[in-house]
């Protein structure tokens, strides 16, 4: 194997070499074990080397944006937490934050901290999913069971508070649906502690494994220029050294305080921009999110009892105007551009989802790689097909 211009050559063990070959069109998906969803990649391969790749999206398009226009704001939350089913809480958040800002509504402090806590737990849940599924795509079948054990621990407390395991529907305009259950904070603290304690088990299976490193180091490098051109965000952008995180850069909820100089929050970055860097960012972000969750717990314990929401009018109308609200979802920027004409439904609600842009970059990254690398790269883009197709 020699490396020329970043291309891996299959020279070892090829007796004849330079055989005449013909290109072959291969459809990866929409139903394929590597795409965990209905993403379709139309790739042209020469032997096992990818000549060109084109992501074809839309198999799961459900017209979320159009549906938003005929729903009132309470109902929109139901839809908004569905496109990215691994980041439901964070996606709800963008809608309610936007509406609250346009209404000029003040949210009770307890609700702000509880939302921050739940958003971070949601981030951990999301990342654990990918920390389990990514090794699976590389052929390691065990990490997913370890990851799901931790997910279960956290999902139990999320479920206790919200009643949901995936689509929490716990946000309301003005705060949360209801107060946190009695003794819940202790159970969350225990769960966070348990996950933190067992995380090394999972890490030991993934990081430092020679085969995994051989499969991911230097594979699928995304440059900061490409990231800027395609609007890539989240862990993928940070793995390439693009130091941006809305929690720090445009703080919402309680992140301003958490990401202050003395706070527990920090933005995880790497410089390599390869698959391994993306995986490492994800892994370290889990630690940071657990830190943030503990900080939120400490704060919630000191806050006096009080309301967690605001009494809303029977018919909620958002004043005329427009506003773009972006949040740092687990997978990247998730934005809602809300245009209201003063009615109970939005006139237009544009959804900017992270995965769409993150997947678009595949056409740029895949050519020149082998089919096996394609799986490594595809998995490391950490996408949810619902989030791509909306």
């Amino acid at each position: 194997m020699t490396t020329t211009e970043g291309r891996r050559e299959l020279t070892v063990g090829m007796g004849a070499g330079g055989l005449a070959t013909a290109d072959m069109v291969l459809n990866i998906g929409p139903q394929h074990p590597a795409t965990h969803g209905v993403l379709r990649l139309r790739i042209v391969v020469d032997g096992e080397r990818i000549v060109s790749a084109e992501p074809i999206v839309g198999y799961m398009h459900r017209g979320a944006e159009k549906l938003f226009e005929v729903r009132d704001y309470r109902q929109i939350i139901v839809l908004a937490n569905r496109h990215d089913w691994l980041s439901a809480f964070s996606s709800e958040l963008g809608v309610v934050l936007g509406v609250e800002r346009m209404l000029g509504m003040e949210v009770p402090e307890r609700a702000v901290w509880a939302r921050t806590l739940l958003a971070e737990l949601n981030r951990v849940l999301n990342h654990l999913m990918f920390l389990g599924s990514y090794p699976l795509e590389l052929g390691a079948i065990t990490p997913i069971f370890y990851a799901f054990r931790e997910r279960e621990e956290l999902q139990a407390v999320m479920e206790e508070a919200s009643g949901g395991r995936m689509h929490y529907m716990f946000n309301r305009v003005g705060g949360l649906k209801e107060d946190l259950p009695a003794g819940w904070l202790d159970r969350v603290a225990y769960a966070v502690q348990a996950v933190r304690g067992r995380l090394p088990d999972l890490e030991a299976l993934i990081v430092g494994n020679e085969i995994l490193e051989a499969r991911t180091r230097g594979v699928g490098i995304v440059t900061p220029e490409t990231i800027a051109a395609y609007g890539v965000s989240g862990p993928i952008a940070r793995a390439a050294g693009v130091d941006m995180d809305l929690r720090r850069d445009e703080p919402y909820l309680a992140y301003g305080e958490l990401f202050a100089d003395s706070g527990p929050g920090r933005v995880v970055t790497r410089t390599a921009g390869d698959c391994l860097a993306r995986l490492e960012v994800l892994l370290e972000q889990v630690h940071v999110s657990l830190d943030l969750a503990e900080a939120c717990l400490d704060r919630l314990r000191t806050l006096p009892q009080g309301p967690v929401n605001v009494k809303l009018p029977k018919v909620l109308k958002v004043p005329e105007g427009d506003l773009y609200t972006a949040t740092e979802n687990p997978l990247g920027f998730n934005g809602y551009y809300l245009v209201s004409r003063g009615e109970k439904t939005p006139w237009r609600l544009k959804l900017r989802s992270a995965s769409f842009n993150n997947v678009a970059v595949l056409a740029e990254v895949l050519p020149g790689n082998l089919i096996a690398d394609m799986v490594a790269i595809l998995g490391s883009m950490f996408f949810v097909v619902g989030d791509v197709d909306k």
């Binding site: 194997m1 891996r8 299959l10 070892v12 063990g13 090829m14 072959m24 291969l26 394929h32 074990p33 590597a34 096992e48 090794p135 699976l136 795509e137 590389l138 052929g139 390691a140 079948i141 065990t142 069971f145 370890y146 054990r149 299976l205 494994n209 085969i211 995994l212 051989a214 499969r215 082998l370 089919i371 096996a372 690398d373 394609m374 799986v375 998995g379």
Partner: protein, 319 residues
């Protein structure tokens, strides 16, 4: 007449072992893997800890429709599972469990077993080529490249053992075995184990069937019993390779009361190797095809050659 009875008995014995041992390994894989992953594995079929799970699987496979794709090369497609399966059956007949428990004690059984197991590749290649499926084709090409390059280090490693024993017969090798071999033949043993795992297309060398890349490689289009035959050949392969490893490197039936329980020792040693093969699958991700080739030609072949040279020197000096 007596000869006919004896041949029949031996054949039936081999067939029974061929049907039982792979299932035993398969069930062990189910349970060992499950417990390594914090699961229980099968618990219902047959009652006690799901012991009959694989029997139930077999029944299910028999009931399934046997589909041959319209575009497939029909006869080759149908014939491929047999080509993959039979070589391991033949190989099993030549592997001795003890000086008495062996179906066919051939004078050059080491060579015979290696030659026969290599035929199994052909089944995978036929399946992939005949399926008229791009994934199958890619899988078959990967399999062919992989199996060809791993044949060489494996043969070299076995050659070293044969040289040390001064015999090409597996029985003769075990008879000449000494505990020193555990140290002196260690590099060769490692080469053999790695090559065996690669030849079996087991993780971390399972690129020919890599489900997340090329769906199921050459076996993508197979259903029902024919698919089950491919699965059975994989597990039969584990049995053959594990027993071969036990016979070549671990002294086969050497052990306590080897006169009476020799066959049990061989089986136990082979079983331990099978568990190692299972363990590899639980612990490791999959290599890339070119990385595997690199490993074979740049690490294993030189290592096996060095082992051969070392053994040669040792044999000459000791003689």
């Amino acid at each position: 007449m007596n000869d006919a009875v004896e041949v029949t008995l031996r054949a039936v014995g081999v067939l029974a072992a061929f049907l039982v041992l792979p299932l035993l390994v398969g069930q062990t894989e189910h349970k060992v893997m499950a417990h390594m992953q914090g699961r229980l594995g099968p618990m219902y079929a047959g009652g006690f800890h799901g012991w009959a799970q694989l029997v139930a699987d077999g029944v299910k496979f028999v009931q399934k429709e046997d589909i041959t794709p319209a575009a497939a090369d029909q006869r080759v497609f149908r014939f491929a599972p047999a080509v993959a399966l039979v070589p391991y059956l033949v190989a099993m007949a030549a592997i001795p469990l003890s000086p008495d428990v062996v179906a066919a004690d051939l004078p050059a059984s080491a060579v015979f077993v290696l030659a026969v197991t290599a035929v199994g590749i052909l089944g995978t290649l036929m399946a992939g080529w005949a399926s008229a499926n791009k994934y199958s084709l890619l899988g078959a090409m990967r399999a062919a490249a992989q199996l060809l390059s791993y044949e060489l280090p494996m043969v070299l490693a076995v050659a070293s053992i044969c040289l040390a024993a001064g015999s090409l017969s597996l029985s003769g090798i075990v008879a000449a075995w000494s505990p020193w071999w555990l140290v002196l033949q260690l590099p060769g043993a490692i080469v053999f184990l790695v090559s065996a795992v690669a030849e079996l297309q087991r993780p971390p060398f399972d690129m020919p069937v890599a489900d997340s890349e090329i769906v199921f490689g050459a076996y993508t289009e197979y259903t029902g019993l024919r698919f089950a035959f491919f699965l059975l050949s994989e597990y039969a392969g584990i049995v053959v390779m594990s027993l071969l490893f036990a016979v070549l490197y671990l002294g086969g039936w050497h052990g306590l009361a080897s006169d009476q329980l020799g066959w049990l020792w061989t089986l136990l040693k082979g079983f331990c190797i099978a568990v190692v093969v299972i363990w590899l699958r639980v612990a490791w991700p999959r290599l890339r095809e070119d990385q595997l080739q690199r490993l074979a030609w740049l690490v294993l072949v030189p290592l096996a050659l060095a082992q051969l040279a070392l053994t040669g020197v040792w044999v000459v000096v000791a003689a």
